[in-house]
């Protein structure tokens, strides 16, 4: 279980106030909210981005994460799909992902890794040479899913992974998330669109407005938001 109980600030400005939620293995927990609610802050802070100051506790399967840097969290099995994946010119995706895989799961031969990588990139229809270099927004999101598939994390934070995708890409991404969940991955899905949820069945829904949790529930809450929006909070 990924248990989040914390407040988050950036340069002394409090963005999230006493947010409390948890993600069970093999389930999807959706965090919704209007623009500027602090949703992206939540995923960055949980991942361990050092620009965010966290007060409180973030526990993964019982381990306290708050004092750990990003890379150690990743090695414990946490993953984040970025809203704006970063371009690294000239760095081979395969070479980098093998290094990442080794740091998370231990050594793997070039040949064995090639199988893992090729299977994943084939199923996603991804042909990427360098890490996001020159890729379109949609390709970058697919590349994030490639990394999710290859690294096979215990918990994944998906930060607006659905934004900027066309219907076909959306389906591919949704399928990847479903597969991961089926494999036992706990997913924290941050979004402010509802379209994505037509493809995915979330188990839990949390609504954040102005940095505070205003309501928690199940899929019905998402459906309510779809009709009523956030203006009632």
């Amino acid at each position: 279980m990924l248990k989040i109980n914390c407040s988050v600030s950036v340069k002394d400005k409090k963005i999230l106030d006493n947010v409390s939620l948890s993600v069970k293995p093999g389930t999807i927990h959706v965090v919704m909210g209007p623009n500027g609610a602090g949703k992206s802050t939540l995923s960055h802070a949980v991942m361990g981005d050092d620009r965010y100051t966290v007060e409180g506790s973030i526990k993964m399967d019982g381990d306290e994460l708050t004092s750990l840097p990003m890379d150690e969290r990743a090695r414990k099995g946490l993953f984040m799909s970025f809203q704006y994946p970063v371009e690294i010119p000239g760095l081979s995706m395969k070479k980098f992902l093998r290094a990442a895989y080794k740091s998370v799961h231990g050594d793997i031969t070039v040949m064995d890794f090639k199988k893992v990588y090729d299977t994943a990139s084939k199923s996603l229809g991804v042909h990427t040479k360098y890490v996001n270099d020159g890729a379109s927004g949609g390709q970058k999101k697919r590349n994030e899913m490639l990394q999710l598939k290859v690294l096979n994390p215990k918990y994944a934070l998906l930060d607006e992974t659905d934004s900027g995708l066309d219907v076909d890409a959306l389906k591919v991404v949704a399928q990847t998330v479903k597969d991961a969940v089926q494999d036992g991955c706990g997913v924290l899905l941050v979004t402010h669109y509802l379209k994505f949820l037509e493809y995915l069945q979330p188990d839990d829904v949390t609504v954040i407005v102005n940095g505070r949790v205003v309501e928690q529930g199940d899929i019905k809450l998402a459906q309510k938001i779809e009709v009523e929006g956030y203006s009632g909070y």
């Binding site: 990743a74 000239g90 290094a99 690294l151």
Partner: protein, 455 residues
């Protein structure tokens, strides 16, 4: 692997070490030692006279720390040239073993030469190439064995003795190096390699490389360079002359990894005839100062040149590198790709594209990319002299940093911060490394890793 592999001095006692500084009698002594013909001695003396009259160039990096009176200009290692690694004194053999040269010869090359301080100590060429008439010799030996070719091309039309201060010096005290002749239409399928090791404290290395590719010939040549680290300055002022005859193709790769007390003031130039092609691949990792601008003079129609380079400038290093192309004939093409990484040090791109009035339909592309880390500096001096309208000339320059978003992104996948930086830098140099032979690419990547992580 660590830096010590290159930086540690070997325990070798040379046969002869000249007194520091240069005098006419030293120039005569060197010529005499090599039993040279009169014309070569004259060339040396001419170089020495010009050298005395010419001042150290001040348009580039600061060379004030180089005291030319303290340099040891000639160090004769205590061994004769051999074709068998086992004949070398153990400590020299050990050094080349550690650098992986004999092993590489077995697997990768059709010929290898190795120079230790002033003289070549090992030289060997694959039997099949000898049969095809390929000549691969120590430059000193070539003066004796192939006087006509050497007299015609040695510091005459390609790099004349009066070219600049350090070429004048080179002409006066040059020793060792490589002479290669590839006959018409002979295509050498695997590279030839030379390795230059400077071991002498306060030493100078002045090897001369002269390569002549006859019509339609092809050759890939690789040189590696290193030296141990001393407190005092050392000087490397080599000279590389390539004569690429019509239709011939030459690829010249060098990885210069001198220790950080070395002034590397090196000159490389190619004369490229009709439909011939030259490719320069340069990696400059070491040295306190580097001034190196491999030059292609495209004198025949349809000639082409490509120059790719990577320079790394760490603490106390000023890497002034680039490339020059003279388009002296029509339908000639050139590409220059220069990348630099400045980590606390300074690296500059200094280059020239010159199109002569008579050269039509010329195309030239220059691309310089600088990566800055930890307060490093970069400068760009891209000179263009175009005296013809019918040309396509472009220059593009970028400056970037290893940015925190990139580091964070890789860290979020489980890489440590150091590894993240390393991978980002390896991506930056990838287009250059890709054009290197595999083992050199591996070595360069390791060297960069070493420098970037600051160990």
């Amino acid at each position: 692997m660590n830096r010590e592999l290159y930086d540690k001095a070997d325990d070798h006692t040379p046969k002869f070490v000249s007194k520091p500084g240069i005098t006419e009698s030293l120039v005569r002594f060197i010529s005499n030692q090599k039993n040279e013909p009169g014309w070569m001695l004259q060339k040396r003396l001419q170089g020495f006279e010009l050298f005395k009259k010419t001042s150290v160039p001040t348009w580039g990096p600061d060379l004030s720390g180089l005291d030319l009176n303290k340099i040891v200009y000639y160090t004769d290692p205590n061994t004769k040239e051999t074709q068998n690694w086992d004949d070398l004194p153990q400590e020299i053999r050990d050094t080349f073993d550690k650098l992986g040269i004999p092993e590489a010869e077995k697997n990768l090359f059709m010929g290898v030469g190795a120079q230790y301080d002033s003289n070549v100590v090992y030289h060997n060429l694959h039997e099949s190439l000898k049969k095809q008439g390929v000549i691969f010799e120590n430059m000193d030996v070539a003066v004796q064995k192939y006087p006509n070719l050497v007299k015609k091309y040695f510091m005459t039309q390609c790099i004349p003795v009066n070219d600049h201060k350090f070429i004048m010096l080179h002409a006066a005290v040059w020793s060792g190096g490589t002479f290669i002749y590839v006959p018409k239409n002979v295509k050498v399928s695997l590279p030839l390699q030379a390795y230059f090791r400077m071991n002498q404290k306060d030493g100078g290395q002045f090897e001369h490389t002269l390569i002549i590719l006859d019509e339609g010939a092809e050759l890939e040549y690789i040189e590696g360079c290193s030296s141990p680290r001393y407190q005092q300055s050392s000087l490397h002022a080599g000279c590389v002359e390539l004569i690429v005859m019509p239709g011939a193709k030459m690829c010249y790769t060098s990885i210069e990894n001198w220790s950080k007390n070395v002034y590397n003031l090196n000159t490389k130039r190619a004369i490229v005839h009709k439909d011939a092609r030259v490719e320069w691949v340069n990696g400059n990792m070491g040295s306190t100062r580097t001034m190196l601008y491999p030059t292609s003079v495209l004198i025949g129609e349809g000639a082409s040149s490509e120059s790719v380079g990577i320079a790394f400038a760490g603490e106390g290093q000023d890497q002034d590198t680039g490339s020059k192309v003279i388009h002296a004939a029509s339908n000639t093409k050139s590409v220059i790709i220069a990348k630099s990484i400045s980590k606390t040090g300074c690296s500059s791109y200094r280059g020239l594209v010159k199109v002569m009035p008579s050269a039509k339909n010329v195309s030239s592309t220059v691309q310089c990319d600088a990566l800055l880390m930890d307060g490093g500096q970069t400068k760009t001096y891209p000179y263009m002299q175009v005296a013809q309208k019918d040309v396509k000339v472009s220059h593009e320059a970028t400056v970037s940093r290893v940015n925190d978003d990139q580091v964070r992104y890789l860290q979020s996948r489980g890489l440590s911060e150091d590894d993240a930086r390393k991978y980002i830098v390896s991506g930056f140099v990838e287009p250059i490394v890709r054009s290197m032979p595999f083992e050199y690419a591996v070595e360069l990547n390791k060297l960069i890793e070493l420098e970037v992580t600051g160990l």
